[in-house]
């Protein structure tokens, strides 16, 4: 008898411990903070701006320095200004190219052509895919290590991301889509509670598996006829909008979603 009680007591304690351990707030690892990653704000221009690899950058700087020296000795300074040797020559070609530039600049009759040639040359160099590929290959080694580190961080963050909501841009995209689909019934009394909460079950592509009005009982309450009209309009909006604009990743996060339709703001205007 006493043995059974002891076993029961022990197992109960074990049960409580396991339950407590499984709570999500305890599952967090406050000590194991993920490393801080600096965020760089990038303005995207019309043309893709491919960054130079560190080694190529050094080479370009060297070429620039050499050019400066050569031009200052042999060419008039004005003409130098027009030439922008930002190209990325391969190491063994660099001297020849510099010589070519130098020679061209020495002929005053071909100044314009020279400039054109140089600009075309620049273009060639900048958009020479083989060169870029080579540079990227070189940079791959450097970036690979960083990516590995970043990958680790991302995976770690992903675990925590399961508990997060949608990002602002994801939420805005979804809101904007539903705003366009929701025809608000204009006859609603705006001094009433005009909030309709709908819980959705979604497929990964954003289409709806199931929609459920959370305050369903209110639909049949006397004097709440307007609520039924409002709830139906919200359901129509969801059906009209589907598939919803949901994020492409993190399905587990948003496979269940609650939309709170509130018409008060619009009707009070």
């Amino acid at each position: 008898m006493n043995r059974n009680i002891t076993i029961s007591f022990g197992l109960h304690i074990l049960l409580v411990i396991i339950t407590a351990m499984s709570l999500p707030f305890l599952a967090k690892k406050p000590i194991d903070l993920p490393p801080i990653v600096s965020v760089e704000l990038i303005q995207i221009t019309d043309k893709t701006n491919i960054p130079f690899a560190p080694k190529a950058k050094k080479i370009i700087e060297k070429v620039k320095e050499k050019e400066k020296k050569l031009v200052s000795e042999q060419a008039p300074p004005k003409k130098i200004k027009k030439i922008k040797p930002d190209a990325i020559p391969l190491p063994d070609e660099k001297l020849e190219k510099v010589k070519e530039i130098k020679k061209e600049k020495q002929n005053p009759e071909k100044v314009e052509t020279e400039v054109k040639q140089v600009s075309e040359f620049e273009k060639k160099e900048l958009f020479d895919t083989s060169n870029i590929a080579a540079l990227i290959d070189k940079s791959k080694v450097d970036s690979a290590e960083t990516t590995k580190k970043l990958d680790k961080i991302t995976q770690d963050q992903d675990k925590n991301a399961d508990f997060r909501g949608l990002s602002l841009s994801e939420e805005d995209a979804l809101k904007a889509q539903i705003f366009g689909c929701w025809s608000i019934p204009l006859g609603l009394p705006f001094n009433e509670n005009l909030l309709v909460r709908i819980k959705l079950q979604l497929k990964p592509d954003g289409s709806i598996i199931k929609s459920e009005i959370l305050d369903h009982a209110r639909m049949n309450k006397p004097g709440q006829g307007f609520y039924k009209v409002l709830a139906e309009s919200a359901l129509r909006a969801i059906k009209l909008c589907q598939p919803l604009r949901v994020p492409t990743k993190g399905y587990e996060r948003w496979k269940e979603l609650q939309l709170n339709f509130d018409a008060r703001e619009m009707l009070e205007g």
């Binding site: 197992l11 999500p24 599952a27 508990f163 019934p185 204009l186 006859g187 009209l240 703001e265």
Partner: protein, 446 residues
């Protein structure tokens, strides 16, 4: 025993908990709702029967057209072109193929059936939610065949209420002053018509000048101003019987009459010796009560829907402005403070707004404001327009507008117009003659 505990432990093993994401939708669009109104189906026997009785070739199409026009007039619905319909009315009435209606972007569908049963008109109609793929409403009406337009209006009211959440205003009438002849020698008669301009009838012969007719809440009585033997007085007319009587025995001019919300009293202005004050008369015991007592011109009184307050216009602050007071005449408060002159205040049946006419810099405006004077909104502007009257749901105003005459004195006209509270949906209300001073009835089928 041990297995039982192990089972419980396994069940309670750590389960990953996801917080439910909530997204607040606080905005929507106010675009008209696309509605498909399928012609009501009708069998051949009924078709022939109605052709003989009503001289109408296809009553099903006619009734659906009434519904379509009503819904379009509101500005809240966009009835879709019938040419785009893929399903025939007789099949759609039984079971709509929602995919077909979805294809033409309809969000709601109206179907129905018309039959002639024992010389009576029977109309069934159904409202469908296309996106949800379910029936929203189904009703049937039986009436005399001549009432077929009214059936169309009642169907519209039901659809409107189901889709917007507020009562409709289609099964209603408008009483107005029909005007004919040149501006200097106008013949004015009382006339009544359906809200869409059909079934027009004249109630007086035009021997006396008539002005400002107003419906009672029961719709059977009308009060108006008539210049009988050149003495302007307030009269009461029973539409059903045609009998009329003078309201009260006032030793002077009475004008601007209006019923109280319960229909038991008439409120009006009484003018004597250049002063005009507001009076009420109880229609049961004929007791007259003075409401205002001020040496200024107090006129155009209108009760609040609960009967507790009265709005009126007065020049007691030098210029004509709108005031609100208790129904016993106490606690008079000025509510209009904008530039210009304010007049003809009318309390909305919903109680939330007061409509008015405003004159500012030579132009007339129809506008609304809250009973405390805040939130003034001017809905429409014109050369000359006045006398707003509310639809029974407080969503639309009807008023009249006059046009300028040219240098030869020609080109004058007076027409009825309606505008909804958004200020965008302004429509001309067709009348067979010129028209002024409209008054909207309450719902006939309420």
């Amino acid at each position: 025993m041990l297995f039982r505990y192990i089972f419980i432990i396994l069940v309670l093993l750590p389960i990953k908990v996801f917080a439910l994401i909530e997204v607040d939708i606080t905005r929507g669009n106010l675009n008209p709702l696309p509605v498909a109104i399928s012609p009501l189906s009708i069998d051949e026997n009924s078709k022939e029967g109605f052709k003989k009785i009503l001289k109408v070739s296809n009553l099903g199409i006619e009734i659906s057209t009434v519904v379509e026009n009503n819904l379009r007039q509101t500005g809240l619905f966009n009835p879709l072109n019938k040419d785009a319909f893929l399903q025939k009315p007789e099949i759609a009435n039984l079971k709509p193929r929602f995919e077909d209606w979805n294809l033409i972007k309809a969000q709601a569908l109206i179907t129905g059936k018309v039959t002639l049963v024992d010389d009576k008109l029977r109309v069934e109609f159904r409202l469908w939610d296309i996106l949800a793929g379910k029936e929203m409403m189904a009703l049937a009406f039986t009436t005399v065949p001549n009432n077929w337009r009214r059936v169309g209006h009642i169907i519209t009211d039901k659809v409107y209420q189901r889709l917007t959440g507020e009562k409709g205003y289609f099964d209603t009438r408008i009483i107005y002053v029909a005007e004919e002849g040149p501006k200097t020698k106008r013949i004015k008669k009382l006339a009544i018509m359906d809200q869409d301009g059909f079934n027009n009838k004249f109630l007086t012969f035009g021997n006396e000048l008539v002005l400002t007719p107003r419906f009672s809440p029961t719709n059977q009585m009308v009060t108006y101003l008539s210049y009988f033997r050149n003495l302007p007085r307030v009269y009461l007319l029973d539409i059903e019987t045609g009998t009329q009587e003078v309201v009260g025995d006032f030793p002077g001019m009475t004008f601007a009459p209006r019923f109280s919300p319960d229909g038991k009293k008439i409120i009006m202005s009484f003018a004597k010796d250049g002063n005009s004050d507001i009076y009420t008369m109880d229609l049961e015991n004929r007791i007259v009560e003075r409401i205002t007592n001020h040496p200024s011109i107090d006129t155009s009184p209108s009760f609040s829907p609960d009967g507790k307050y009265i709005t009126f216009n007065s020049d007691r602050s030098k210029y004509q402005q709108i005031y609100v007071m208790k129904s016993n005449g106490k606690d008079v408060k000025r509510i209009s403070f904008g530039n210009g002159l304010y007049g003809t205040p009318v309390w909305s049946p919903r109680g939330d707004l007061i409509a008015f006419t405003k004159l500012h810099k030579g132009k007339f405006y129809i506008g609304v404001m809250r009973p405390d004077g805040t939130g003034e909104r001017l809905l429409t502007e014109n050369f000359y327009q006045e006398a707003p009257s509310w639809s029974p749901n407080g969503r639309v105003l009807i008023f009249y507008r006059e046009t300028k005459t040219n240098s030869k004195g020609e080109g004058f006209s007076a027409k009825l117009w309606s505008i909804d509270l958004t200020g965008y949906n302004e429509k001309l209300v067709e009348t067979i003659t010129d028209a002024s001073d409209p008054s909207w009835s309450s719902l006939l089928s309420d």
